[in-house]
Symmetry: C2
Subunit: 568 residues, 2 copies
């Protein structure tokens, strides 16, 4: 092994970025070292647009050999939601060989200390950043996100979330000094004196169970939080979205190796069709941390069964927007139309239930009845997606047949305010592109109050399906919001109101039910988007997720502090 990168050099290179990240998570001001604009890439070693495209094309139909120990064959059958087959093969793990190999490098990684680990993590992120254009295609063709979203959310925004996790991990590990002298006075006798050392030690192998829709954005926080706190990380991607995380693993292994650490500290566990590898891995004794994004059913299973591990889950939720009143009716409609359309509503943060008083709302454009609001929203969505090119650039593709199935069934749930229509993608005729459906619902209290209530809007309907729910009063809207968050969880809550009193009611509901609230968004910020270093993604305090991205609780229990005391 040739140590091409000294950790001292890496620290010198990346410490300023780390310090800026530490400052940003403290001030929560806007900050990012990762450019959002595709044209910002192509210099300083980063791939330009055409180079990224070429790199992605070159990957297709190849075998991605990561040089991992414990490989017992190859697997992979990803098909892009845009219709092309990726044809990339990945190593399939012999878990009994791979897991012990991953543990071998732990002592040296631990002994490197928090600053060196942070610097290595930042080098990994920097190399990922340089290949953002390549990752954009990998994310696009596994998730169905349109190119610009795949570029931004799968690239700089995901890298931001990874860096944020590294910053939190560094801050937590360095709250206790590496060593301390302790001298306790004993009156006239000499003081008791001890020399103490404190070492952040890892818990064990960390398992990342990736999701289909945001493999990097949802994956990087856990991956980097665990690696930065000294744990090896085994990455088990969603079988439909392997490539972005496989590339991540490859880069991580290269950097670790060049920096003189065991590359097996990061490894990939790609699964065979129907193998259920996550379940097998999750209860292995070596696995001590699990990060998971996906269905509530499997998230609950992990929490109940992976008892040997710290389990961080993001599961399903039902996101609500209360529409009470506004002084910018067109801005509200445009903002909501965008939120419902972005990535075909396939975000864990997309609003599902729009609660609107049956008697209508007051706006700067005059009073509007419930029916008018629904019709105007439907028109706003229609107008936003009227241009086919803009529609495909916003909607992306339907990620999998389950989402398409729910979309097709939605009209059976109530009166359709806006029907979904198919859009032909100009570049990818094989893509399934669909506009969102909006379905009207009766939100009378008897429909949702009581343990046996089963209105469709009380459950998650993941995908481009939203419900405009006619409620009897804004108080009922808040009560329904509370019930939904408490029973089903929510990643986001939105509200539009010009009333201080209503604002107070909604805010109190969100504080008590523990949900993140966006008020009166009418411009270029959307309820379904959060910014690393400033916004928390989820609260970790309602059933949608048991952790927030990113806070101290997300990192503080991934390591433990071991103390050694000696007489001074």
């Amino acid at each position: 092994m040739t140590v091409a990168l000294s950790t001292a050099q890496l620290i010198e290179k990346h410490r300023p970025t780390l310090d800026q990240a530490l400052d940003a998570i403290r001030t929560r001001a806007y900050w990012s070292p990762h450019p959002e604009h595709p044209k910002a890439y192509g210099e300083g070693g980063s791939l330009a647009a055409h180079e990224g495209q070429a790199a992605f094309d070159a990957l297709r139909g190849t075998r991605l050999d990561l040089g991992q120990p414990g490989t017992d064959g190859w697997t992979g059958d990803e098909v892009s939601p845009f219709g092309i087959e990726l044809g990339v093969e990945y190593p399939h793990p012999d878990v009994d060989a791979l897991l012990p190999a991953m543990r071998a490098g732990m002592p040296a990684w631990r002994d490197a200390g928090p600053e060196a680990r942070a610097a290595v993590c930042l080098e990994i992120l920097a190399r990922i950043s340089a290949r953002t254009h390549e990752f954009a295609h990998a994310v696009m063709h596994t998730t169905g996100q349109a190119f610009m979203m795949a570029f931004q959310a799968g690239g700089p925004h995901a890298q931001d979330r990874g860096l944020e996790a590294v910053a939190y991990a560094f801050a937590e590990q360095t709250r206790t000094p590496g060593a301390a002298d302790w001298s306790k006075p004993q009156g006239k006798r000499p003081p008791l004196e001890l020399r103490k050392s404190f070492t952040a030690v890892p818990r064990g192998v960390s398992l990342l169970i990736g999701c289909n829709t945001f493999p990097t954005w949802n994956g990087y926080p856990g991956l980097f939080a665990s690696l930065a706190t000294g744990n090896p990380v085994l990455v088990k991607p969603h079988p439909r979205a392997v490539l972005p995380l496989a590339l991540t693993v490859k880069i991580a292994r290269e950097v670790l190796d060049e920096a003189g650490f065991d590359p097996n500290l990061v490894a990939l566990a790609a699964e065979r069709p129907e193998e259920g590898l996550a379940k097998t891995l999750a209860t292995r004794d070596e696995i001590r941390i699990i990060d998971y994004t996906g269905s509530t059913v499997f998230g609950d299973w992990l929490e109940a069964n992976a008892r040997q591990a710290q389990v961080y889950t993001e599961k399903a939720g039902v996101n609500t927007v209360i529409v009470h009143s506004t002084d910018d009716y067109q801005g509200m409609l445009g903002n909501l139309a965008f939120s419902l359309s972005l990535y075909s509503g396939q975000m864990c943060t997309t609003p599902q239930n729009l609660l609107i008083p049956r008697d209508g709302i007051t706006t700067d454009a005059g009073d509007k009845t419930y029916d008018e609001v629904v019709a105007d929203l439907a028109a706003a969505v229609d107008s936003l997606l009227g241009d086919e090119a803009r529609a495909t650039a916003l909607l992306g593709a339907i990620v999998n047949p389950q989402v398409g199935g729910r979309l097709d069934m939605a009209p059976e749930l109530g009166e359709v305010a806006l029907a979904s229509r198919a859009v032909t993608h100009p570049d990818f005729p094989g893509a399934t592109v669909r506009t969102p459906v909006i379905v009207k619902q009766d939100g009378a209290r008897k429909q949702w109050d009581g343990t046996d209530a089963d209105a469709p809007y009380l459950a998650e309907c993941f995908g481009p399906v939203s419900f405009t729910v006619a409620v009897d009063s804004v108080e009922d809207a808040v009560a329904l919001l509370r019930r939904t968050v408490r029973d089903r969880g929510a990643m986001t809550v939105g509200a539009y109101t010009t009333s201080d009193e209503v604002e107070r009611l909604v805010e109190e509901a969100c504080l008590e039910e523990c949900a993140q609230l966006s008020l009166n968004l009418t411009g270029g910020v959307y309820v379904n988007q959060t910014a690393a270093f400033s916004d928390f993604h989820g609260s970790g305090g309602n059933p949608a997720a048991n952790a927030a991205l990113c806070d101290a609780a997300f990192v503080a229990n991934r390591f433990r502090m071991v103390e050694v005391r000696r007489p001074a």
Copy 2:
């Protein structure tokens, strides 16, 4: 309700102490605001020795009315391990009435913010501190600790641990600012601007399940961590050790009330004999946090079944000391003899297994065979406890018949190196006072290596029973240490060695198995004692405990951060 204490005044009064505590947990230097010496009390409103005695005497045979709602009768039958009946009666809760009442004050307590909550907690601690002499008797006569230990461990040291938890809680809650302005550049267009507010919100009612041996020391960290992060705290004491926590609850309720908060934010849940109230409470939906110290069986049950709550447990462990070599043989023997004798070995931190090479050890007093080391240690304990007054002052009383039973059975486990003897307490003839027993054990690898090994020293034998285990080599000692920590957990590990190589081996074992290590203690610091603000109690990374006292992980998940975003 008359608000006698403004939170502004409380903040002004206590902020300097909070700042010192914040500084101490960062430097890990020695610090405490709570005097250890009994004579330090009696001025500035604190009770002097005779006043504390009188206050305790006045409590006996009374009904401690806390003014709690949801009281359905009275309970209490504590009998001191020193032989006297306390005769104090406590309210028995109607849980269906008490739990909702405890939630009523949550919004105002949340809105008070982290600094006001910390100040209120510090006022509670200050009033407890002023009554340290009274608490000392309450702790002594529920735990069996000798007076001086009950005074120090149950008084200032417990108060230190409570203050430490408040400091960690304050630090975690204030890492994110209360509000932030966020402005994201948009090239030539105007920036996106948001005003964000961040509020630390509580999880729900926190349940403290107290233990018999250290009701305040083990109870205060969880109690104050939860209260300082905005959660109501329901205190369910061990039925044999109610009084110290009942007094704590009474003081907390008084301070909350005077400061204008709902006193029901802290309440007592004393149980009827054989009621099993902890089990009932632990799975209630209102209970969102649980702190527990006690048996592994019930701790494991809580972790598996109280799924709606964050569960922090300190359970049983097997503590090991490796004796390899020393340059202060007498110091080592004296130090170990003290550790084995203090509170009759009834500390979760008391060493149980002393691993000694079969071929003997090297010391400044010449080479010593295994038998010589064991005989010299037995003699050291004998000498330490030879004087009856000193013996009772060190040993205290056997806390309950189960401990006495294990002590009586110990001679059946092997050759007795030091027999236990009964000591008559000069002041309390009804007390059960016993010196420790030391039993020799064969530590040949076949006795402990393998999944079916069942040597007595592989399980916890809580109380004044220790094993001198003859191992074949120091490498075997380290291997046995690893196995014991991994399978049974350990709150403490000790080692005596003059060899850098052996020190390195033991240190690596503790880093990998996640156990707190004390090396070569020969003076007035003992392996079973930890100091708040500097030492971690447990690691939270082995089976003895899933949390450490106190670190960020202990507090960071007791609250969640809720964000509200608005256009700027």
